[in-house]
């Protein structure tokens, strides 16, 4: 199993330091992604899902320092402790990235064609003319209408959906083995979102790229992911296959989130279902379960010890004292 995993993250902790505070946005997180598979990482803002994916790549804003511990094996290479020049060779090369806002990720002063060609020159060692030809192929691959004309256009001349396609073309220009997509469709409209998801699925089939998709939209998760990791306050709450997590959620947070989705059976004017309280503000790691203050099933131990992620065969792994105690009891009965 391990041999086919392109990405294996184990016990990753990220400590993050700013001028104002020290925080731990990622605390003891483990997951893996197989080649050609899609893992969705679901969580609210401040759950640490973005730091989890971008801190190891050295993609943090100026003025923020991160310390990593644990291990990230990508394609047989250890990423934790890797130097910046080595990370730079991996970023945009073996690992492509797609951001939520393509306008701020694209260079406004360069033509689309040039920006794609640059990646091919840098990571594949192509000559300028080879790279230009590749840029055209890539625009055709991401199904841009009128690709020859698009090559010569600037980002501001494109609509949101076309920009995101250009962004995807750049991300796959160096034939990455892993694509990290941070909310790739959140800024897009629902009709365009459907097209972009279709495109990502199609590209994955053709290029056998693994995708880590960071999102908060359960619909997007259901339509593309094979596995799901649900994050809450820097830790994994639930981790399993998409069917297990979406259809039979076991962690109170996951089941609360999924129950909160408006359904066609809800009468107009009927109250919305949701979770009480507010998500915690990141800071020092909590001694207990971060979800305890909002949890309907909370018991004594929840506030004192944080529950480890544990799972049985055929079900998702869950970090919850109540669920895991029930499960071990059932196993004992059986």
């Amino acid at each position: 199993m391990t041999s086919t995993n392109i990405l294996q993250v184990s016990h990753l902790c990220v400590d993050l330091y700013t001028t104002r505070a020290a925080l731990r946005p990622v605390d003891d997180v483990s997951y893996e992604v197989a080649a050609g598979e899609t893992l969705a990482i679901v969580g609210e803002s401040g759950s640490g899902k973005t730091v989890l994916n971008f801190a190891p790549l050295g993609l943090m804003p100026t003025g923020v320092v991160t310390d990593l511990s644990g291990s990230i094996l990508f394609d047989g290479q250890q990423l934790v402790g890797l130097s910046e020049p080595a990370l730079r060779r991996i970023r945009g090369g073996k690992i492509g990235t797609i951001f939520q806002d393509p306008m701020s990720a694209l260079n406004p002063a360069l033509r689309i064609g040039r920006q794609i060609a640059e990646v091919a020159e840098l990571h594949l060692g192509m000559t300028s003319s080879q790279a230009e030809a590749r840029a055209l192929d890539l625009l055709k691959l991401v199904r841009m209408s009128d690709p020859e004309a698009r090559l010569r256009q600037y980002p501001h001349e494109l609509s949101g959906g076309l920009r995101q396609r250009a962004m995807i073309a750049i991300a796959i220009a160096a034939e990455p083995k892993l694509l990290i997509a941070d909310e790739p469709t959140t800024a897009l409209d629902v009709t365009v979102q459907a097209q972009i998801i279709g495109l990502l699925k199609d590209l994955q089939r053709r290029l056998n790229t693994a995708i880590v998709l960071i999102t908060h939209d359960m619909g997007v998760v259901a339509s593309i992911a094979a596995r799901v990791a649900v994050m809450y306050a820097g830790r994994l709450a639930e981790y399993g296959s998409v069917e297990e997590v979406l259809l039979t959620p076991r962690h109170p947070y996951t089941s609360g989130l999924i129950a909160a989705l408006p359904s066609v059976d809800d009468a107009p004017g009927s109250p919305f279902r949701g979770l009480p309280g507010t998500p915690p503000v990141l800071g020092a790691p909590l001694p207990g379960c971060a979800f305890a203050p909002r949890c309907p099933q909370v018991i004594d131990i929840c506030a004192r010890r944080y529950p480890p992620l544990a799972g049985g065969a055929g079900t998702a792994a869950v970090a919850c004292h109540v669920v895991n105690a029930r499960q071990s009891k059932e196993q004992a009965h059986a």
């Binding site: 184990s10 330091y17 511990s69």
Partner: protein, 296 residues
């Protein structure tokens, strides 16, 4: 490599030095009458062209006046002049800029075209022309410089005011039906003044320089009031025998101008993120070291 890093670190300290220079200038200006060891205009022809000594730390000029006292009192002249110019220029500029930014439409068009005309002419030329017409004199100089400086602050104020007016919290006041007076005086004006004052810091140095320039040309501060530009021109004939008397006022003026420019720049760039200082990083790491690490 190491030396280069030291150099960069020294450069990073510059804003602090600038702050020191400007602080010293303001302090000297305010406390000049009490700090100056001598009456800056007391002549002592017997001690003319004295070299630095315990009595006269920086020596004396061609009339035997104490140079240190004159430099200190000049700081006051410069500070008061600069403040008056900026006060008038900013009042006019901010009023016109905020009115344009609030009203928009044709009012903005008309006001901004007037500002454009003002900006098209170099400020010193405007000042020279005004003094040429109305004659030399303290207030004429102040007004001439204010006239030269208001268009710049009007332009910045308008840009700031337009930004403020488009912020949702001002828009929500409009939706609440707040009167134009409330929006203008309670919200738009205070926000704009705060932002424009930052820009004014960088301008202050240029105003100080202009006052010295006009005084050097004999068009600004008139004797006997001590002023750096004037001290320079007084000492110029004796450049070869007493070069310090020329260099000192020039040096002080340069420091003040650079100080204001660097300070203005560092305030304006305050928002740009900088790498986390080592000292803070160590402190944060110490905090995190106390956290329980998950067993790998």
């Amino acid at each position: 490599m190491r030396r280069l890093r030291d150099l960069f670190q020294a450069l990073a300290q510059l804003p602090r030095l600038a702050f020191l220079a400007v602080g010293l200038f303001v302090l000297l200006g305010v406390l000049a009458p009490w700090l100056a060891p001598y009456d800056p205009n007391a002549q002592d022809l017997l001690a003319a062209h004295a070299d630095p000594s315990w009595q006269h730390w920086l020596g004396t000029d061609h009339l035997g006046r104490d140079t240190l006292s004159r430099l200190i009192v000049s700081a006051r002249t410069s500070l008061v002049g600069m403040s008056l110019v900026l006060l008038i220029a900013l009042s006019v500029g901010i009023t016109i800029g905020t009115v344009a930014g609030y009203r928009r439409g044709w009012v903005e068009e008309v006001l901004m075209r007037i500002v454009d005309v003002g900006l098209a002419m170099p400020s010193l030329i405007v000042a020279l022309a005004v003094i040429g017409i109305f004659g030399t004199g303290y207030w004429n100089m102040i007004l001439a410089l204010a006239l030269a400086w208001w268009p710049g602050s009007a332009r910045i104020s308008r840009a700031v005011a337009v930004g403020v007016m488009n912020r949702p919290h001002i828009e929500s006041l409009r939706v609440l039906g707040a009167s134009p007076g409330r929006i203008y005086f309670h919200h738009l004006l205070p926000s704009t003044i705060g932002a424009v004052l930052v820009y004014a810091t960088a301008d202050a140095g240029a105003v100080a320089l202009s006052i010295a320039t006009l005084s050097f040309l004999g068009l600004g501060i008139q004797p006997p009031t001590p002023e750096w530009g004037q001290m320079l021109v007084d000492a110029l004939p004796y450049l070869e025998s007493a070069p310090w008397q020329v260099i000192l006022p020039g040096l002080v003026l340069t420091l003040v101008v650079i100080g204001f420019n660097l300070l203005g720049e560092s305030i304006a760039l305050n928002r740009v993120p900088t790498p986390l200082p080592r000292r803070i990083l160590l402190k944060r790491r110490a905090v995190a070291a106390g956290w329980k690490k998950a067993a790998p």
